[in-house]
Amino acid sequence: MSKYLLLFLAAVLLLLTGCWSRIEVDKLAIVRCLAIDYLPEASEPYLVTLSVARPAAIPVGDGAGGGGSTATQVFSGTGTSLDLALNNAALSMPRHAYFTHNEVVLIGEEAAKRGLQATVDLVMRFHQLRLTNFLLLVPGIAHDVLLASGRLEAALPQEILGLLERARLSSESDPLEIYHILRQAVTEGQEAHLAVLRLAPPPEQALPEIAAEKQPAGQGAQGGGAGQGAEVAPPPEVLSVNGTAVFRDEMLAGFLAPRETRGYLLLAGRIRRGVLSVPDPLAPGKSVSLGILRGNSKITPRLEAGRLSFLVETELEGDILSQESLENLSTPEMLEKLGTAKAEALKEEMTQTLRRLQEMEADIVGFGTILRRRNPQAFQALAGRWPQVFRNLEVDIQVQAHIRRTGLLSRTVPLQPQ
């Protein structure tokens, strides 16, 4: 009899937990993007901004839903510490802040200057945030980025994610997930870097001539009664992902331009796609566009007579994208010549990048790590002053580029009969 009693009590015990940790989806504030800023003058210097999805804005079926316009809503909070600011931001929402679907963490320039430590600690410690989030740096205030609106995507976080995915194909930025950045940062002989997300006027409006031309045209359309709003909207700023923020000892040390970022990717052997133009070897004054398809780099440390130097051997493959002249460039000799020209141009980019990095004393390529792996004793001797060693490091860059294809044309079609 007591057996049944025990069984019964054991079964009841299961129910005593109630519905612990149960929360309905419609009570969740699904945070999709998190921005961290530091405002040096403010009394509560940390500013955390959350971009939260608004499910009510997503149309469901043909009847209900579709109310409201914006797919995301921004909430922010300030505090004397990062966590307090985050708490205040979360508490300003009418729903339960839910971070497991957060995909992007933005860090403002000022905050980055104070170091990544606090941000990384928060991301690693908080169970809802994941190390697969992208960590990006925003020049200026990160909060402002979240106020922008998506151009193709209804929700801004979706737009950012799309940009990040595309950015990998241009080789002009190197967006990384937090665990990659962590790995770089904790590795001896290597520094971390972040991709840069910036808010800027669209390229066409950046040119003064076009901007001047557009202004009256816009007003003309308005006067014509096209049904537009009464005010002239300020030129919309667009998001772009390009360039790299370089860190030294977890502090922001400087920036690499988009081209320099490509140089870095070439050095590190992680180049993806890219385009460059070189002068036409047969027709002076005209140029040929070449594409980079894939590439690989091999970095070898050399220690000769106590003098440390590195050899970077880069091998690239690519194709011809377009040419301006009518010359036949598809002969083996010409292709080789083009290859050499391409190698020269890219070598220049790599050298330039290296010089900038050496100025910043930030070894984000990881020369130190390679030395440590190849020759631990040699690295150990230099470990304490690696940044200075890196500054004066001699690096021999050898680039080999092959042009494999010429597109659908072997030689161009002259439009004017000769």
Binding site: M1, W20, I23, V25, L28, A57, G61, Q128
Partner: protein, 558 residues
């Protein structure tokens, strides 16, 4: 605490398992060979006997007693039968007329006397094909109540029984609950004799046994154990015989009564005995070494022993190409899991584990749930219950009205509920998918068990999330593993038996490779057929060459 444990004790006493063990032994004997009835008054005098019959059967309108005299006027006889259950034309043409015939040249006209009447009539006079002799009135009456005719002779102790059963019966039709695209269209009917003939026609083997038993004190229902003597496992056969013989109840109106009396664990929600309406399915079971229990007055036959995974198999698996058989079995396994788990898993994930969903999916679910007034658990239970109501309403209604129910219930109510924001569209999708999945399980009895278990699982999911679902599933699995059907573990052949048999859970083998019967059934003769006998083309030297091979260019022109 004392009061509480007293209440628990009381509750436990109410539990049938505990109560049954100490229940009084049943004093009632099976009435088949009951001696008490043998000693009931009987008489060889015709009038006294008819009086006794009237005493025992009462004044029933359908009881016919026809007293007549033989053609030579020496013997008084009486026919006793139940109107509507006998072939009256057969009776009048082949019994009444020859006995009453007063042609003096006939041998029986000359010889018929009360003392030899019975044997002479049986041997010479009637042309009824089936006759028997009953020693007393009790036994004769039992035959009469089954549709036979008793011929009483004045002054004769024994009674001649004439097989004249004939009644209106339903024709052999396509089984409605188990239709198949390919395969025989014949299903069992309510008449046991017709059913046995359907079986015999499929298995023309001398070892096919159709063992008859009679149970039901008041209904006296015929039960037939069908098996092949050298295939069935003797232990299972003995067990089945014993369990059926132990049934002592008033009435057996359907095989479901027997199923509940003989199954191993009547307190389980899972059916432990498969039933079928299909003759081919019953025949296949018999040929596999199983036992088929047929019951009079119902087209549903029982198959023992049963494994759980049999409920996921259909006769058609073996008729279509085996690739299809494989695909369908996999599909049904999947569908079974969907039917059982899907709503619970959905509730668990959207109320506890939102991080497990891809972001776009979570957002659309969140958008769908926006403004739904009830929590997801309640929503799921409500929708599932509504669906069960709709299904139940549809089953009992005539077909013409049924359509209206499905339109009003499914379309109007469903659509309106979503538009009114009472339920979320995603929940409707989940419930509808689950509903369709339950219908994809071939056996209704198994699918209704799963359907029942869905509710506690949803409840657990709403309370404890996936943790609760896993607890529920483990409980179900432990229970399944503890079940047996006639001494064979219920989860055979997956949890017990050979790998070859286990594989059949997922795939039905091509016939050319199905050489052995299931090992777990432990049949005396395990081999089903010759070894691998797939067709193979003859080697070239043994076969007539085609014109291409002989190089005969004119072959086509001749």
């Amino acid at each position: 605490m004392n009061a509480f444990s007293a209440i628990v004790k009381k509750l436990i006493k109410l539990l049938p398992a505990a109560g049954n063990a100490k229940g009084p032994e049943k004093p009632l004997q099976n009435n088949r060979n009951s001696r008490a009835e043998d000693r009931r008054p009987d008489s060889s005098d015709l009038d006294r006997r008819l009086e006794l019959v009237r005493e025992r059967l009462g004044e029933s309108g359908d009881l016919v007693t026809r007293v007549f005299t033989s053609g030579n006027g020496r013997v008084r006889l009486a026919l006793l039968y139940i109107d509507g259950m006998v072939d009256r034309k057969l009776l009048s043409d082949n019994v009444l007329r020859p006995i009453q015939d007063d042609n003096p040249l006939l041998r029986h006209y000359k010889e018929l006397r009360p003392n030899n009447a019975l044997t002479l009539i049986e041997a010479l006079v009637t042309n009824v094909s089936e006759t028997a002799t009953a020693p007393d009135l009790t036994q004769a009456l039992r035959r009469v109540l089954s549709g036979d005719t008793a011929l009483l002779v004045d002054g004769e102790e024994r009674i001649l029984i004439l097989g004249t059963r004939f009644w209106a019966m339903r024709a052999v039709t396509e089984p409605e609950t188990e239709s198949a695209v390919r395969g025989p269209r014949e299903g069992f009917t309510e008449t046991l004799r017709v059913n046995t003939s359907l079986l015999r026609r499929r298995i023309r083997h001398e070892k096919l046994r159709l063992e008859t038993m009679r149970i039901g004190r008041r209904t006296g229902t015929d039960i037939i154990l069908a098996y092949i003597a050298d295939l069935v496992n003797p232990r299972v056969l003995a067990e089945a015989r014993q369990r059926i013989a132990a049934i002592d109840t008033d009435a057996i109106l359907e095989s479901g009564y027997i199923e509940e009396f003989i199954e191993d664990s009547p307190w389980s929600v899972f059916p432990q005995i498969e039933h079928t309406e299909r003759v081919d399915k019953a025949a296949a079971a018999i040929l596999e070494g199983r036992l088929v229990i047929m019951t009079d007055n119902t087209p549903i036959a029982l198959i023992v022993p049963t494994f759980f995974f049999q409920f996921l198999q259909a006769a058609e698996d073996y008729y279509e190409r085996f690739f299809i058989g494989i695909a369908l079995r996999m599909l049904r396994l999947f569908v079974m899991n969907v039917a059982l788990i899907l709503p619970a898993a959905y509730v668990a994930v959207i109320t506890f584990h939102q991080e497990m969903l891809p972001t776009p999916l979570l957002l659309s679910i969140a958008a769908a749930r926006e403004g739904v007034p009830v929590p997801a658990v309640a929503e799921a239970l409500l929708m599932e219950a509504t669906f069960e109501v709709l299904r139940e309403a549809g089953v009992r209604l005539p077909k013409t009205v049924g359509q209206a129910v499905s339109i009003v219930g499914g379309l109007v109510v469903g659509d309106a509920a979503i538009r009114a924001g009472l339920v979320s569209p995603s929940m409707v999708i989940i419930v509808a998918t689950t509903a369709i999945s339950t219908f994809a399980i071939p056996a209704f009895s198994a699918s209704i068990s799963l359907r029942l278990l869905r509710f506690p699982l949803i409840f657990l999911a709403g309370m404890m999330g996936l943790y609760g679902v896993i607890i529920g599933l483990l409980a179900i699995l432990i229970h399944l593993a503890s079940l047996q059907s006639f001494g064979v573990p219920y989860l055979t052949p997956l949890a017990h038996g050979t790998a070859r048999d286990a594989l059949k859970t997922f795939a039905r083998p091509p016939w050319s490779l199905a050489t052995w019967r299931p090992k777990v059934l432990d049949t005396p003769d395990r081999r089903r057929q010759a070894g691998n006998m797939r067709y193979r083309p003859k080697p070239p030297e043994e076969r007539e060459l085609t014109h291409e091979e002989t190089g005969d260019k004119d072959a086509g022109k001749r």
